[in-house]
């Protein structure tokens, strides 16, 4: 047998083996789809012919057209495909999505693309029954494309401004951010810095409240609003709070901390918009011999498993990630047109990365 099986020509269709076996294509089809209704003698003859001709069974491509359902759901993101396997948040979410899919026998198609043109094509040509869209970044474009397919789809992550009634599952980012800020203020902290998620496609660097308000990504905007609303309630002058926009990776977080701790009046509390940011920050702080929570407290956002295992364990706002995944799959599969948007509660989990303000 040839390696990787005979490479090129494979024009063996069901019709071919039907002819070879001397039966109609209808019967040949039945041999594979409902073997019990065809007489044994015929069945064996057809199977033998199939075997002899190297027929690999009915081609799903053909079946699909008639069946209508692909029996797979697409998960789309504007990040590269490897995002699904590398990002902690995505991984937890995907694990939960895949469990829900497994339970119903549905498959998963990963859809993504680096550039926009590719993305459009990939979404337009994805063989799926519906989409779950990771809106973490580049949300609007992605949602737009998914919507155009007129297939059931759910956006993961709520956009508080978006009243276009796209189906979505998310958490109340503002409330979560409130919790984080309140926790730190109640511990006596008064000097804050924010390590923000991306606001635009522009890269990383210091930014301002005004800039963030224009952010493309609602999560970033809402979390900042939540932080600031709460800080203001405690009479903290938010205009003095440094905001550094990261791209959720080590390099940009470290650059952010370099920037933040270069100033004269350094913060005692850091609000990180993601656990990933917070964890990178923990590394930086350790390397710079800044004690956590002795000198600086830090609160993350997301509640990924790594946050519980860090040194020190991270205080964070935990999202019900698994629940979100489950609901998203349910929404796609049981799409009865009634589903719209659902906001899940977040929770403050206090661990060892936050403590009383040193002063």
């Amino acid at each position: 047998m040839a390696p990787l099986n005979s490479g090129k020509t494979r024009p063996i269709r069901l019709a071919d083996i039907a002819k070879a076996a001397g039966v109609s294509h209808g019967t040949a089809s039945n041999v594979f789809a409902r073997p019990e209704i065809v007489r044994e003698e015929v069945r064996e003859r057809v199977k033998a012919a199939a075997e002899a001709m190297g027929y690999g069974g009915p081609d799903p491509k053909g079946r699909l057209l008639r069946a209508g359902k692909v029996n797979a759901i697409g998960v789309a993101t504007a990040e590269p495909l490897s995002y699904f396997f590398n990002d902690p948040f995505a991984r937890v979410m995907m694990a939960s999505i895949s469990q829900a899919c497994d339970a119903t026998g549905a498959g998963i198609s990963l859809v993504s693309a680096a550039n926009n043109e590719q993305l459009a094509w990939n979404i337009q040509s994805a063989l799926v029954d519906g989409f779950i869209v990771f809106c973490i970044e580049g949300g609007s474009r992605l949602v737009e494309l998914a919507r155009e397919r007129k297939l059931p789809f759910v956006a993961l992550d709520l956009d508080s401004d978006d009243e276009e009634a796209v189906a979505a599952i998310g958490v109340d980012n503002v409330a979560g951010a409130n919790l984080a800020a309140r926790h730190l203020t109640e511990l006596g902290h008064r000097r804050f810095a924010v390590l923000a998620l991306p606001c635009a496609d522009a890269g990383f660097g210091p930014t301002t409240q005004v800039q963030v308000e224009k952010a493309l990504y609602s999560g970033t905007r809402d979390r900042l609003r939540g932080y600031f609303a709460e800080l203001s309630r405690f009479d903290i002058d938010v205009s003095k709070v440094l905001i550094y926009e990261t791209v959720n990776d080590e390099e940009s977080v470290w650059a952010g901390l370099d920037h933040i701790f270069a100033g004269a009046e350094t913060p005692t509390a850091i609000l990180a918009m993601s656990d990933r940011i917070a964890l990178h920050a923990l590394d930086w702080l350790r390397q710079h011999d800044i004690a956590v929570p002795g000198d600086v407290s830090i609160v993350g956002f997301d509640g990924v498993p790594e946050a519980a295992a860090s040194k020190p364990p991270l205080t964070t706002i935990v999202q019900p990630i698994a629940e979100m995944g489950r609901l998203a799959v349910k929404a796609i599969l049981e799409n009865d047109g009634t589903f719209s948007r659902q906001s899940l509660p977040v929770e403050l989990v206090v661990r060892a990365s936050s403590g009383p303000s040193p002063a």
Copy 2:
């Protein structure tokens, strides 16, 4: 607009809008596929009709049949789907596979199923251009099914006994195991225990060399052969080496160590058949105040990123996981029928989990 878009009827076909726009379906098709060859006036008319009727663009299900290529590769495993996102080895492999797919614009379909029947159907009906099969467990059945599809496919993981010429990419497990065992013997160790990967579907528990020789999974068998061949060269009585079969999870590894350290003559060196096993073992040893490498040395297998970050960092046999993924994708996409099996080199990376024998 209805939530989740109008739920049920969607009988709008390209032909419908062609009729509505008063053009032939050939032209209508061109409007979407090659807009530049149709006159602007007509193009706009058709687009307008499509918009008005809520047409979501040409259905890929239809296109697929004619195009022949799905432009996606399937990754199959006998584990649940969540394996792809939870297992460290799988994650690194998948990250590399997805990078290779991204580069060529191919999508990824995750194929799996808990039970065998489901699995067969899922593989038979997967819409993919080829399969990459994770043979970690249940290999033969999976390979069989994939082969039956007569699509290009590559098995990840070499089976040294398997002469059926299935295309495969793997590492020399025997050589890797040799390296691990030699490293420890050269450090003076003489009392060994082996924490094995699964041999059968039977669960976990103590086992014997004879049992492992019959193992369903070639990796397990080959690694044990490698360990024992090398230990024998150093005149170590392998019949005294305890072998405990795990299922690669915390529970079974801990049970294994309970068992191993319950005996009178405890080992000074542990050969773990995977990093995952080794990492769980590290946890157990720490909890039992057994110093690594002071009291016991341990060597893993795989070379996952977590192994470099553990406490202490793990000495292990690193596989070129990323390279394997890249090659697998290449083999599927550029399937010219020439590819067969490829064995990649492994490497011993010495970190802090192995040291001189205490005695």
